[in-house]
Amino acid sequence: MTLLSIDWFLFFEKLILIAVIIFASLGIALYTTFAERKVAAILQDRPGPNRAGPFGLFQPFADGLKLIMKEEIIPNNSNKFLFVLGPALAMVAALMTCAVIPWGDKIVAFGRTVALQIADINIGILYVFGVVSLGVYGIMIGGWASNNKFSLLAALRGASQAISYELAMGISLIALLMITGTLQLGEIVKQQMQPGHFWNVVYQPLGFLLFLVCAFAECNRTPFDLPEAENELNFGYHQEYSSMKLGFYLFAEYINMFISSVIMATLFFGGYDIPFFDETKHADWGNWLALAGVVCLMIKVVIFIFFFMWVRWTIPRFRYDQLMKLGWKTMLPLALLNMLITGAVILWLKK
Amino acid sequence: MPERAELGVMNAIIFSALIGVVMMLGGIVIKSNAGIKLLAIILLFILLGSHLAEYYDLFNIHIQTHGMLAKSRFGMFFNTIIISLTLLYVLLSGDEIVKVGTYGAEYFALIFFSLCGATILSSYNNLLMLFLGVEIMTIPLFVLTSSEKKNLKSNEAGLKYFLMGSFSTGILLMGIALYYGGTGLFAIEASKAANEAQQAFRILLPLGLLFIFISLSFKVSAAPFHFWTPDVYDGAPSVFTSFMATIVKTAGFIAFIKLFELRSVDMGYSWKILLPLIIILTLLAGNITAVFQQSVKRMLAYSSIAHAGFMLFALYNPNDFGKQGIMLYTVAYSLATIGTFAVLTKMKDYTYEGYNGLAKTKPVLAATNTIFILSLAGIPLTAGFFAKYYMLASALKESTSNLWLVIVAVLFAAVSVYYYFRVIQAMYFKDGNAETTEIKPFFKTLLIIIAALIIVIGLMPSLLLDLFYA
């Protein structure tokens, strides 16, 4: 069935996949907010939310409902279009990243082999970079359109922070890409799944560390949550926002956290690879093997998300100049060094 | 020496870039101004030596350039000239360079990088290299122009230069894109096969060349794209103006000639209208405005526009006569300009009044300055005369119908005598007490040597041209 030279079956297959992944991301982000409160509670030795439903499991829905029901306020002197565009962009950029992530191996359904990846494009990880670099527009536009000095300052902080750490992030990744020789995320995972090949974190420990720190900075998570520093900037770039627009900003942050956890798991921890288990010997398990892979990826992601929260409730915030110093004077040279050493070792091994 | 398209003039390019880095790092170790200047001079000698080693086939770094650079006798000779001129320039004004700001070593490093760009321009064989060469040559200049941070005029000039420069680079890139669309190549020497394959789009080629022409006119400050020149030359610290107006400008002309030597045919008939138009406008804008200037520095800026008009004559006959002419012009004009600017930087007051009575206080300065200015005006017995002669002759050689243009140029040269002689008049025939900063004997000796060179070349231009053919 082709019309306008489109394969419509493929089209709907991808559409369903996209819908599933987006809803899954949203659901996970929803429960991440819950998890954050619970983790904070545990770390601070208190029970945390426990009224709505068993163990407070319905709390996120209550929160969501509260956000939606609140009054929408658009400041008088703000630029209305941009004011709405800000949170929308933040959300879109956060969700767009999941398009290139390999969520699992191929599954067979209704006689069609479906890859659990929306698009295994040639440039893979660069696409992620492209989208991440756009995420900053959500913050900048929102902060500027609010017509509030604190928002603007926070937005500028956020933008400069994101740009500074993007550099170190990119360079730390280059070292990884030298080893893998490909940008396709699917290919990177498959390489790590090969028997006798360790996860990339073994080959790139420094690269991983740098990437992790930069991911914290890119997600605006503590200790890099300068754009939202309450005690300096009231409430940060979303000070003027209310209702679901505020919800979008907060949500985008959690989705970002989720996606960067997925990317770290994919790049450095074997993606949907099941540890200490040779998938090739159990190819007859079919769809179950693929699903086990997805579950395995999710377990890795949950561990990362927990780590994100653990750090948040343990480490205080940086001062702004410390943040910049760390980015430019520590992370960047370290990333360059890592790249040089990796390059030299690869050259030496090939000779 | 045959033209070897595969091997470029790599020694000068590689060494000037590396030396720039060495210079920059040297700034960390060496703190004294004198030490930095000494290092720069030593490095320049090394650069000149490495280049001459390649020139005489003693030592060169072989690199497969895939036709990006082409070695030619013309380019090599030009490189020798500009490296020697830079050496002379640094010897003469090195003290002033380190005095401009706190980054002496960096200024020299930027000068070396700029020189690297100029050497690329003298040997490029591909429009990508043209673009890179132009950029490498001009980006350090933006910085040097605005290096006098406390001076508002210097900042303004730097910004203006930067904006104008980027704008013209945009036009250059547009031109290169259209050229690529028309020929399917970046190379300036197009092979036949590629041409035929792209016959359908060949129509884009003249437009692309026109864009490149406009952009390069910008870079060499030919009218009507000259408006940035007076402000930038005036605002920049005088030492750097001297560098910009000589070495950089002539390198721009070399790039110009190289491209239009091969490609002026593709511009078609419009070329015949465009070139005289630009030449006349440039001569007009340069000479007439220079007459009304009160500051010598600004007058020199306008006169450099006028000289650009003369140098454009080389495009008429870029094959042999024009090439010889541009060599001669480069040497004559650069020597004289470096000399006048060196004197200018020593002056306390840049207006004509500031020169009043210089002959009495500093006779050597006044005498040498007179020779430089005579050469700039193109008076016989100085190098400037033969330079102008070759330029005009190249136009006549192309076709005698250009006679009218030559006559116009001669008339403008006569106008230029007026404002040049005002300086001489101030130095010799006006009473005053021209104040200068401290002048070392070494500086005077160098000035005398430059003046002697100008006279020697003016008497026997064949000395220089023989070197070219030797």
Binding site: L126, L134 | M68, E106, F142
Partner: protein, 167 residues
Amino acid sequence: MAITEIIFWFLSALAVISAIMVVLSKSPVHSVLWLIAVFFAISGHYVLLNAQFIAIVNIIVYAGAIMVLFLFVLMLMNLNKETEPQKNLWMKLTGVVSGGCLLIILISLVRQATEIKGKIAVTKTGDIGLIKVLGKELFSSYVVPFEISSVLFLSAMIGAVVIGKKD
């Protein structure tokens, strides 16, 4: 009409309209935002030509980094109000005339090129834009300009330090 053709026309229209809006917008911030839209449209064209790498680099470098810095400066300078001085009428008129002349030349050139007529861009073919091929080209035929551009960046960096550092 194939879907690629529809996308092509859509992207072209988007690019041209956004580019016009860049010039027409009163607020500089809006101009920058429109410019970002232009970059996206152009990246879309690259994707149509199967030049994925160039497309994404265009977004990362231009839309993601350079334009953010532009916005940065504009927001800090608070250029929201129309502080731009009115140009005089003659300037505008000359601008229109010279721009129009260029447009006429370009149009007449394209019209003369009869061979181009009726041809549409070749989409989704060729792999020169893919990173593997591009990398090989860059490090073989174009290695000299590639390496020499490092001199350009080095001098620009030195320049930035010389200008930007406090005395």
